[in-house]
Amino acid sequence: MTAAPIGFEAERAAPRERGAVRDLLRRHPTVAIGIAILALMLLMAVFAPYLGTVDPQALSPVRRLRFPSWVYWFGTDSLGRDVYSRVVYGARISLWVGFCVALFSTSIGLVIGLVAGFSRPVDAIVMRIMDGLMSIPPVLLAIALMALTRASTTNVIISITVPQIPQVTRLVRGVVLTLREQPFVEAAVAVGTGFFKTLRRHILPNTVAPLLVQGTYICASAMITEAILSFIGAGTPPNVPSWGNIMAEGRSLFQVAYYIVLFPAVFLSVTVLAVNLVGDGLRDALDPRLARRM
């Protein structure tokens, strides 16, 4: 195919894609709700300093354990820190971890899955390793990896990413193995299309939809795992407010100051729900066969 029709296609694609997005949002209003909630959380994370917050680390022994009021919207914790400010800043960690884990695990899984799908010797070794890694429950592997390193956001991202890679690899490998047998790929190979061009033009575009759906679910699961790690003291360092470690700090005082746990819990659940709503909508739109079943 020459360059001209490709350019022509690209010109036509933009309005068609906009139409498709509109159609998706119309047919799956829950996706619109999910996107709206996520956009709000993102804005909250970005503009945290301008949303009536104070320094989330500022200690004030005289205002310890204040109940939520007009002055302290979400109350204060045992060190007198403003829970509202900590929750607002905490959104940064959850969103960042969710996004990075989804991006890195899908990218790494994509590369490994492509190689495994095309090379039988690599496939035999890599998939056995992946089977082994998948046999360790993901949260447990993340905890074990965090135990090796010091608490930092980067280490949390790495520890959550590693257990997610095998399932992405398996997914991509499955797609590649199916596509390799398809007539359009065989035809491309038969007419002498180069390996990388076949990969770029015929294989990669077909991995986008399942990866996008999988990436969304990984994002939701990563946010929960980050909160679990921080909650049990194996996640982000205590000086970085995250929803998980705010809850961890409120744990021992739960019966007298339940709001310290409650507010970050609500924000975490609503954000994860929003990501899941987007994921379900994308799955319905991109994989109608699966959508009918789920």
Binding site: L148, I232, N276, D280
Partner: protein
Amino acid sequence: MFSYIVRRLIATVPVMAIVAAVVFSLLYFAPGDPAAIIAGDMATAEDIARIHHQLGLDEPFLLRFGHWIWGVLHGDLGISIFTGLPVLQLIGQRVEPTVALTLTTLIVSVSLAIPMGVLAAWRVGTWIDRTVMGIAVLGFSVPSFVLAYILILVFSVALDWLPVQGYTSFTAGFWPFAQHLILPSAALGLIYAALIARITRASMLDVLSQDYIRTAHAKGLSSQNVLIGHALKNAAVPIVTIIGIGIALLIGGVIVTETVFAIPGIGRLTVDAISRRDYPTIQGVTLLLSAAYVIVNLLVDLSYTVLDPRVRF
């Protein structure tokens, strides 16, 4: 069928070997020197070198891995750095609450989720279906420890119906035992039940669209007969598969749930080991829980031969 079982058992060996290699590497690459910790603050360099030699820490990776595997196969998971007790003994002391919590959650979740999934598929598109699916999406979104706190707030703090924390062994009587497990099981089980309900519904929808279901209806069988006798039986394989795979969620969840409810189980042991950087314990727990996960999924695979006579491989 026999050859399938043998092949499936043999296939478990390399998987467990890789799990063991990963778990061993965790200890091998762990920061800090266990010999220095064991020797104490007043130890000389010679003392540390001697302990190094005694523990075989100066051996190359493969040799150490070989020795470690040999020990594991003989029930030796190493010695806890913090307590000085064998890791297997520590796990043995904590196993009862974890098994009780996991089994209760498993039984309750499965017995609630499958009927919910069947009902949702039977009444697809109605408010029943939407309610079940709504609960399932919520189940995926509310982390177990968040739900745990909500349940404590309502049922323990506000209503004072159930204890806030703790665990009582079943030897102390059924009610005290059950009373302490109701809230933890509910918190831990929601996500698991959500997963099972969703797959049950999907699998049932697939089966309910088959011709033989129409035939069963046409020959006058009751809905109950068609649903249970024909549809659920044929939809069982994916459901049983997800019950096995979902155990990973229970294992991850049990660590946090035990922390929230102060249950002295393996999850609590893991959290304590992390805070003390007790690597042999972390390693032992990871290996045992992963082995449990592999065995459950092996049993699930073997159950296919009973559930689906076509599975002979």
